[in-house]
Assembly symmetry: C2
Homo-oligomer: 153 residues x 2
DNA sequence: ATAATAAAAGACCTAAATATCTTTTATTGA
DNA sequence: TCAATAAAAGATATTTAGGTCTTTTATTAT
């Protein structure tokens, strides 16, 4: 569906929204550790997001990442656009070179419903929307710890 | 969404269903040409499908591919399972290591609707269902010719 | 039997996605 | 102004998906 780079990006942004403020930025190592992501790879991704002004970063001591007021209102679709492009929401589900009502594949009518639904979902959901669910304790952005077995030593 | 191998497979099967019978099999070169697919790559794919009994093939002169009665009733999900596996329909949209009601990501409730919808669609649609739409002229499995400009010479 | 045909099988190549490592630049506090 | 910090940037490595080419095997018609 979405590339790894893209879901890494989304999770990192949500984590930053939930855990950082301009006065208390969060570093890349901590983000990577908490989300079980490869540090340097995540670095590349956050770098891209910074360049596109989707997140904010400051170098040096006490530096790190945070989201300003506008960034928290960014929609998921914007992140997807930067990381993967939006083709997936406009392409034919059976790989025809174009998807249209004039030359539809036999799956078109049914497939379009879900493809468009996802597009709408991503277009109407903001980072803040998801971060709020974490804040309220109704959802999680960190992996469920699969190492509970280690705790019985 | 689905890998190229998978959509190539789906299109090829539908094309075979629409264009071949046991008494009039269709060769791989013709399929590849009509669907704008790389011949040898398609060969690999059809080989896999044959091994899984999803399509039928006969070697030698007058040989080629066709679908028997049962094969036409195969559901799309079966093809997807063979080509890509079914993980995509059970994985978290934000890449958490598991997707569950007990440890949901903040997108879970909304995302699940579409992911499950697609799973149901692919599980309830058969090759014959799609081939029929082609037969009836209500849909297409070949690309819309983008070379119409060539026709004005 | 044999030559021609067409898929199966296997080896190999290429490009893109994913991941790691090293160096540079900006910032801060001592 | 210097040392420490942390992100940016760049180079490189690995893995997987996608694609090509060659050889083998099965089938058919002559
Ligand atoms: S033509 Fe296939 S999904 Fe629209
Ligand atoms: S936990 Fe993310 S989709 Fe279910």
């Amino acid at each position: 569906m979405l590339s790894k780079s893209c879901v890494y990006a989304l999770r990192a942004i949500i984590f930053i929204a939930h855990n950082a403020r301009e006065e208390a930025k969060i570093g890349i190592k901590e983000i990577a550790q908490e989300l079980d992501l490869p540090v340097h790879y995540l670095g590349k991704i956050l770098q891209q997001l910074t360049k596109h002004k989707i997140i904010q970063s400051i170098k040096g001591p006490n530096g790190g990442f945070y989201l300003d007021r506008e960034s928290k209102q960014v929609r998921l679709i914007k992140v997807i656009e930067v990381m993967d492009g939006l083709d997936v929401f406009f392409q034919c589900g059976l790989g025809l070179n174009n998807c249209s009502e004039e030359h539809p594949c036999p799956l078109h009518d049914n497939f379009k419903v879900y493809r468009d639904g996802l597009y709408t979902l991503f277009s109407t959901t903001s980072i803040a929307d998801l971060a709020n669910k974490i804040d309220e304790g109704n959802a999680f952005i960190q992996n469920f710890p699969s190492k509970l077995k280690d705790s019985l030593k």
